[in-house]
């Protein structure tokens, strides 16, 4: 009951967040000085073409009307049609969303356990060789912008030095995202290298705090084996604070895949977003903005619930 109430409250907050974001997205796209009709139709377009375009996509309607139509569409699962080819957005984004979600899922699947492992091990070996080496190398990795990292990986593994992995990924339309796992390797590697350092640093910090706590020392004074102290006494307490960071990183991946996707020609929402922004394809921009915010809200919600579940203090307060 208690959890349910809290989840509902968070959910309400999430809905509020999405509402405010939708307003912002809408107003921002209204403020675009560039005329989408012109941008889409190109310099060939005649005045009539432009007028027809505006009528077709309801751009001649009053703002409030446009907003409510849009929101209604979003809620009913029909977020509108793309300006560039008149196709329903979901038709041509559906696959891309699947692809990007798969990329994010795989990225998290690799980077989260990896950062937990690295972070805890560094905490255990605090100020020893592994910790120092890890701290410096993770710092360098974290500090390097992804595009630099990715470009180096391509030169190293795909084109100039060793030609072992494909330089770009090719997921054919209609095929599942795992149809080119070999091509997945470099994008995943880039993403993992970009995300893991940050999370593992947070895990390390959180783990160190726990390892220094009185109850861990007490565990040792009770004569428990180090293994038990670590996995039973330290881990459950260290993991709670890292949920937020993991969530933040999943959300980051959602918004930040643009770079990775353009490096590896990955057919995902990041590229769609870049195209849509360049082509002033407003319905697509709006939809993607909402989608990414949605992911953010959902992962945060999941992190909140996760934190509560592993933290008895929070869990029991509710019941």
């Amino acid at each position: 009951m208690g959890i349910l109430k809290l989840v509902l409250r968070r959910l309400a907050l999430g809905v509020l967040t999405l509402f405010v974001v939708s307003l912002a997205v809408f107003l921002l796209s209204q403020a675009l000085p560039s005329d989408p009709a012109r941008a889409v139709l190109g310099r060939e377009a005649t005045e009539e073409n432009v007028a027809a375009f505006r009528a077709q996509y309801g751009l001649d309607q009053p703002m409030i009307k446009q907003y409510t139509t849009w929101i209604k569409g979003l809620l009913s699962g029909e977020p509108g049609v793309s300006y560039s080819n008149g196709e329903p957005i979901m038709d041509f984004l559906g696959d891309r969303i699947k692809n990007s979600l798969f990329l994010m899922f795989m990225g998290s699947l690799i980077s989260i356990p990896l950062s937990l492992l690295i972070g805890s091990y560094a905490a255990l070996r605090r100020d020893k060789t592994f910790d120092n080496a890890n701290s410096v190398s993770s710092l360098i990795l974290a500090a390097m912008p992804e595009f630099v990292l990715g470009a180096f990986l391509v030169v190293l593994f795909a084109t100039n030095v060793w030609n072992i992995f494909p330089a770009t990924i090719r997921i054919r339309p209609g095929e599942p995202p795992w149809s080119d796992m070999k091509g997945m390797i470099l994008p995943l590697l880039t993403l993992t290298l970009a995300v893991t350092p940050y999370v593992s640093r947070v895990v390390r910090a959180s783990m160190i705090e726990v390892l220094e706590s009185d109850y861990v020392e007490m565990g040792r004074l009770k004569g428990l084996p180090e293994r038990t102290v670590l996995w039973r006494h330290a881990m459950p307490n260290a993991i709670g604070p890292t949920f937020q960071v993991m969530a933040l990183n999943v959300a980051y991946m959602a918004g930040g895949v643009v770079v990775v996707e353009s490096l590896f020609n990955f057919p995902g929402i990041g590229l769609a977003m870049r195209d849509a922004v360049r082509d002033v394809n407003i319905p697509v921009v709006q939809f993607l903005a909402m989608f990414i915010s949605f992911i953010y809200v959902i992962t945060n919600l999941a992190a909140d619930i996760g934190t509560i579940l592993v933290t008895p203090r929070l869990r029991t307060r509710l019941s």
Partner: protein, 522 residues
């Protein structure tokens, strides 16, 4: 920005006017153009990398971005075409013959026995529908054609013959028929058709904008079945990704190889570089009726500013040729005898001083969606400094740049494809041109009258005389700074046979005319 240079432009080559007089002559069936023609291995899939986006379309008669050209050429064929010397030809075209009855009266006869992808025969009705579709003002596919023709001028003579009466005499009409977008689509065709039917060597199997299109062999192709089983045109988000895919062997060929990669490809024994001369150009445009360019001396001074060799080096990495403020490079009428204009800062300064514009400061506009234009503007600005002119480059997003302000800028940049001289005048150098970027001609000039006379003149010599006068006027007083023409740069793996680098209007040897004689030597 995208690099659909030549996008939204109907490209035509010069030299076509030659055949207008005796347009009835044909050189049907000539196949000697393709070096590797004749036999080749059957089968295989050709994968070609292009830079594309979700904005790409497939339409039998229209393109938005450059990959659309490729996809159009794979499935549809034009009424006429050019041979490798830019003479009008019937070889890859659907017309058996086009008879010039008068400068405003033509009769088109189609080749017989040509079948659509669905097995139906190609007829005069399809031809008439194709003209009607291009003229449809709602679709706005061919604004230049609409100035010459309306649907009432089309008359079906028999199943393969159509009689055409123009609204006004225009010997350029034939050139129009040889444009690659002047195709014939089946009656009732629309862009939304689930099955995209054409007469071309490959049938469209699937198309996902921003991802790929797949084209399979048309076994019933009228010119003999092509060799490849399948052609995949794969979209890449940017040129770097496309190059990586090409050099790591994920694709067999690449359209528009970035200049930077030319040397690398040349040095790689497994890859073949294709450098094709073309007639397309990137001008800096001055509105001749707006200050300070309403003073002809300022225009002349500006044209003396660029170091043209350096511009070709810098903007085109040397893959191009120096321009002489004159377009229509591949046209037979191109004035090779006009002295090459060189950089002359002192003369420019003097002219500016005379005009009272010593410390001129001016904004130069460029769009962000056309590769090369902002950089070209920047390079020009750098050179202008020497002449004491401060040029501020203003980059606008494509949508804004080509919007309401377009053709109203005082000082701007643009791009044009390959066209014969007169066709280009109609497109850009008349008050009622499609895109009057320079607002040419001046109010007191008889340039427009000369154009009207030239376009109605079927005698080539007389026409050339008129053209020469027009060219000289533009060369002296015009508003375009044309510093060079760019080449087309493509590349393919050595095992891709049947593509040749030669002067051309479209990439990849005019996309191998639909890749019909291309094969894989593996």
């Amino acid at each position: 920005g995208s690099d659909e240079e030549g996008a939204t432009t109907e490209t035509t080559a010069a030299g076509g006017t030659e055949t207008t007089a005796g347009g009835t002559e044909t050189t049907a069936g000539g196949t000697e153009t393709t070096a590797a023609s004749g036999e080749g291995k059957k089968g295989g899939t050709l994968r070609v990398a292009v830079v594309g986006s979700t904005n790409d379309i497939i339409d039998g008669q229209y393109i938005v971005a450059k990959p659309d050209q490729f996809r159009l050429v794979m499935g549809w064929e034009p009424i006429l075409c050019y041979d490798s010397d830019f003479n009008i030809s019937y070889e890859h075209a659907l017309a058996e013959n086009v008879e010039t009855v008068a400068a405003d009266h033509y009769i088109i006869t189609l080749k017989s026995g040509i079948k659509w992808h669905n097995g139906n025969p190609l007829t005069a009705d399809d031809l008439i529908y194709s003209f009607e579709r291009r003229l449809d003002p709602d679709l706005g596919l061919a604004p230049a054609l609409s100035q010459l023709l309306d649907v009432s001028g089309l008359t079906k003579v028999d199943d393969l013959t159509v009689d055409i009466k123009l609204k006004q005499p225009a010997v350029t009409f034939l050139n129009g028929l040889a444009e690659y977008t002047a195709t014939i689509v089946p009656k009732g065709y629309t862009r939304e058709d689930a099955e995209q039917i054409g007469t071309g060597p490959f049938k469209l199997k699937s198309f996902t904008p921003g991802a790929e299109s797949v084209h399979v062999r048309n076994d019933d192709y009228w010119g003999g079945a092509p060799l490849l089983d399948e052609v995949q045109i794969i979209d890449f988000a940017d040129a770097a990704a496309a190059v990586n895919a090409f050099t790591s062997g994920q694709v067999d060929a690449i359209m528009d190889l970035p200049y930077a990669q030319a040397e690398a490809v040349k040095g790689n024994g497994d890859l073949t570089l294709m450098v094709s001369e073309a007639g397309s150009w990137l001008p800096i445009t001055m509105a001749i009726d707006q200050a300070p360019f309403d003073d002809v001396r300022v225009r002349q001074a500006m044209r003396l500013i660029p170091n043209r060799e350096q511009m070709v080096q810098q903007v085109l990495s040397g893959f191009g040729s120096v321009g002489n403020d004159m377009y229509g490079k591949l046209d037979g009428s191109y004035p090779k005898d006009l002295p090459q204009r060189e950089q002359d800062i002192e003369a420019a300064k003097a002219l500016l001083a005379e005009a009272g514009q010593e410390n001129l400061t001016i904004d130069l506009f460029a769009p962000d969606d056309t590769a090369g234009l902002p950089e070209m503007a920047a390079a020009f600005a750098e050179m202008a400094k020497e002449a004491g002119v401060t040029v501020n480059v203003k980059v606008l997003d494509g949508g804004t740049y080509w919007g309401e302000q377009y053709t109203k800028y005082t000082f701007a940049t643009s791009f044009w494809g390959t066209r014969p001289y007169l066709n280009q005048v109609a497109a850009g150098s008349l008050k009622d041109a499609v895109y009057p970027e320079t607002h040419w001609p001046p109010a007191d000039s008889d340039f427009a009258d000369k154009y009207a006379a030239a376009i109605a003149e079927t005698d080539q010599e007389k026409r050339y005389a008129l053209i020469k006068e027009m060219q000289t006027e533009e060369y002296e007083d015009g508003g375009n700074i044309i510093w060079g023409f760019n080449n087309l740069l493509d590349a393919h793996a050595n095992y891709v046979m049947g593509l040749e680098a030669r002067p051309n209007m479209l990439n990849l040897d005019h996309f191998g005319r639909g890749m019909k004689r291309v094969w894989l030597d593996v």
